[in-house]
């Protein structure tokens, strides 16, 4: 019974997403799925571990470029490309992590954003021979069709991305239930106390850093396969705020916040850019408004109400809708 209860929230959320797919155009649905995976890493870092990460595009670029290099220069199987992207994410965050996680929160945020900018320049100028600079790498025709799920076809790619997203959400939900998840929260709330309890702050933070950024790298790899090209634009400083905005919009640290945030954000972007074409204005002031209005975000303020509603309707099933 408890197993059913554990899964039911997840299944409900993804069933709703699948229903959305019927009403939304395909590129929009895929964008939402990948964007939510991208944001989940940032949301986990900000809401659960207390790291504000403006550098998420850096890890997105690591995953995307690793996949792109493989597909452009070496092979043509998109599945292997995605695996390589994820592996690059793990290796990259293990290399960068030890330096970054021992920094104080404010320095972490600043260094991380600087990292994203540096990777932008690295891809745009320094490694221009390999990355083809601003033109980007194009390899859409390099990718071969694969059996079972053909990733080169958008409709089947959507199914793949959907399954991957479901697995990741199940993993993060599981993470919340473990002692490790509690440790992450403790690092955010009171790290001295965690040390008194005998846990190693550094290890907890490093693991969280690697988990979150590997998730982001996976999103990068998915982008790379879906779009069929990668350019330095994905890590440009102007887009550094995207994951943070979506995180805040959806509600930092909540499980379904990133999905809600991604839907609202991508929808807004679509509508706003059609109407006035001045995108930054809306993003920036929405961010300020949400921060001043209590920083709980859409899902963060919706969730308790849904819980209460469900409790009233069904009596005891109160905790299924939430987390």
């Amino acid at each position: 019974m408890s197993l059913v209860r554990w899964w039911s929230g997840l299944v409900l959320a993804f069933a709703l997403l699948a229903v959305l797919r019927i009403y939304l155009p395909l590129p929009f649905a895929i964008e939402i799925i990948i964007f939510s995976i991208y944001t989940l890493g940032c949301s986990f870092l900000l809401g659960r571990v207390g790291f504000i990460s403006f550098g998420q595009p850096a890890y997105l670029a690591i995953g995307a470029y690793a996949t792109a290099f493989y597909l452009f220069y070496f092979g043509n199987n998109p599945y292997i490309g995605i695996l390589i992207g994820v592996a690059a994410g793990i290796v990259g965050s293990f290399l960068i992590g030890p330096l970054l996680v021992r920094l104080r929160g404010d320095y972490f945020a600043l260094v991380n954003l600087a990292l994203a900018v540096i990777i932008y320049y690295l891809m745009q100028k320094v490694l221009a021979d390999i990355t083809h600079g601003d033109n980007g790498l194009w390899y859409l025709t390099n990718m071969s069709s694969t059996p079972v799920l053909d990733l080169t076809r958008p409709d089947q790619f959507f199914i793949f991305a959907f399954v991957v997203a479901f697995a990741i959400w199940a993993f993060f939900k599981y993470l919340d239930d473990t002692i490790y998840g509690a440790c992450c929260l403790a690092v955010k709330v009171n790290e001295d106390k965690l040390r008194f309890l005998g846990y190693d702050n550094f290890k907890v933070r490093l693991t969280a850093f690697v988990i979150a950024n590997t998730t982001t790298a996976l999103a990068g790899a998915l982008y790379a396969v879906y779009l069929g090209f990668v350019s330095p634009e994905i890590t440009s400083p102007a887009r550094a705020a995207d994951p943070v905005v979506v995180t805040i919009l959806g509600g930092a640290g909540t499980l379904y916040g990133p999905i809600v945030g991604a839907i609202v954000y991508t929808g807004m972007k679509d509508v706003v850019s059609k109407v006035i074409g001045n995108w930054e204005l809306i993003v920036g002031f929405t961010l300020v408004f949400i921060m001043l209005a209590g920083e709980k975000g859409i899902w963060g303020s919706l969730e308790p109400r849904l819980d209460r509603l469900m409790a009233r309707v069904t009596g005891k099933r109160s905790d299924e809708v939430g987390q």
Binding site: L46, I52, L110, K125, P237, V283, G284
Partner: protein, 290 residues
């Protein structure tokens, strides 16, 4: 080996770049030092300062009037933002102010785009003259920029050390509660610091305008350098900001002479090295806010 003429002009280039960095980041540093907020919106005042300078120098024909306008508008914008937004978030943690001010920066860039459009605008250099230093031609304007930065530093030093308000600000960097306990109106002090910071950022933008193209994204482009300067120098330290902005200026300028892509990469490498040894920068204080 690089020949000496290039080296001299590279050195002067680095000096002028360091001066701009210094004017731009001193606001960030002061705001962190006293209010414990990270005010990324300083880069918005930098952009606005550059645009006001562009417009006024086009209308009046004089860059200096444009600069005064840039300073005034930068300060006024900072005052408005402080009253509307920052006033409500001083008590919050640092990440909070960082996200909010980034929102202001992005939104502000949108406003700038609305008024001036996307096209990069050139600003004429007010002083065309060149002088010879050690056999190398040096544009006088770059030296003027360095001179203005020197004057500003001297002014800030005098202000902080010789006036009662400045002394209150320095005491505020140590401990704001004690300053409040002495009966000083801290709220008014915060507003004043914000106006100074915004005005200096506006000045930096105006001075930088003739050296580069004025465009809406210019604030985001120098963002990484501004970060590196405050991190290397240590958040909240004015001396650290001075030292590190000239360090970064020289590294960018001399580095790009040796190998062009070094201009962006070298400061970052140096920042990482410095953080390995001193996690809070060269002159940063190890203490936390709460």
């Amino acid at each position: 080996m690089i020949d000496s003429q290039l080296l001299v002009s590279g050195f002067v280039f680095g000096l002028s770049m360091g001066s701009i960095f210094f004017l731009m980041t001193i606001g960030l540093s002061l705001c962190f030092g006293v209010m414990r907020v990270i005010s990324l919106d300083q880069l918005l005042y930098y952009t606005v300062g550059a645009y006001i300078t562009y417009t006024l120098s086009l209308v009046t024909g004089s860059l200096w009037i444009g600069l005064l306008g840039g300073i005034a508008v930068g300060g006024l914008a900072a005052l408005a933002v402080e009253r509307l937004v920052f006033r409500r978030i001083y008590e919050r943690e640092i990440a909070f102010s960082m996200i909010t001010s980034f929102g202001i920066l992005i939104g502000g860039v949108g406003v700038v785009k609305y008024f001036w459009g996307l096209v990069p605008r050139p600003v004429a250099i007010p002083i065309d003259a060149q002088i010879f230093v050690l056999g190398t031609e040096i544009p006088v304007y770059r030296l003027v920029v360095v001179g203005i930065a020197g004057l500003v530093y001297a002014g800030i030093w005098l202000f902080l050390n010789k006036t009662i308000v400045g002394k209150a600000i320095r005491a505020g960097i140590e401990n704001v509660e004690h300053v409040e306990g002495l009966g000083i109106n801290v709220s008014r002090l915060f507003t004043l610091i914000f106006i100074i910071a915004g005005a200096l950022s506006g000045l930096a933008g105006g001075l930088h305008a003739p050296l580069i193209m004025v465009e809406p994204q210019m604030g985001l482009e120098v963002l990484a350098f501004a970060f590196m300067v405050v991190i290397i120098g240590g958040l909240g330290s004015i001396k650290g900001t001075l030292v590190s902005s000239f360090l970064v200026g020289q590294v960018v300028s001399i580095g790009s002479l040796i190998y062009a892509p070094l201009a962006q990469m070298a400061p970052f490498a140096i920042m990482l090295l410095i953080l390995l040894v001193w996690p809070t920068g060269l002159f940063g204080s190890p203490m936390l806010k709460k």
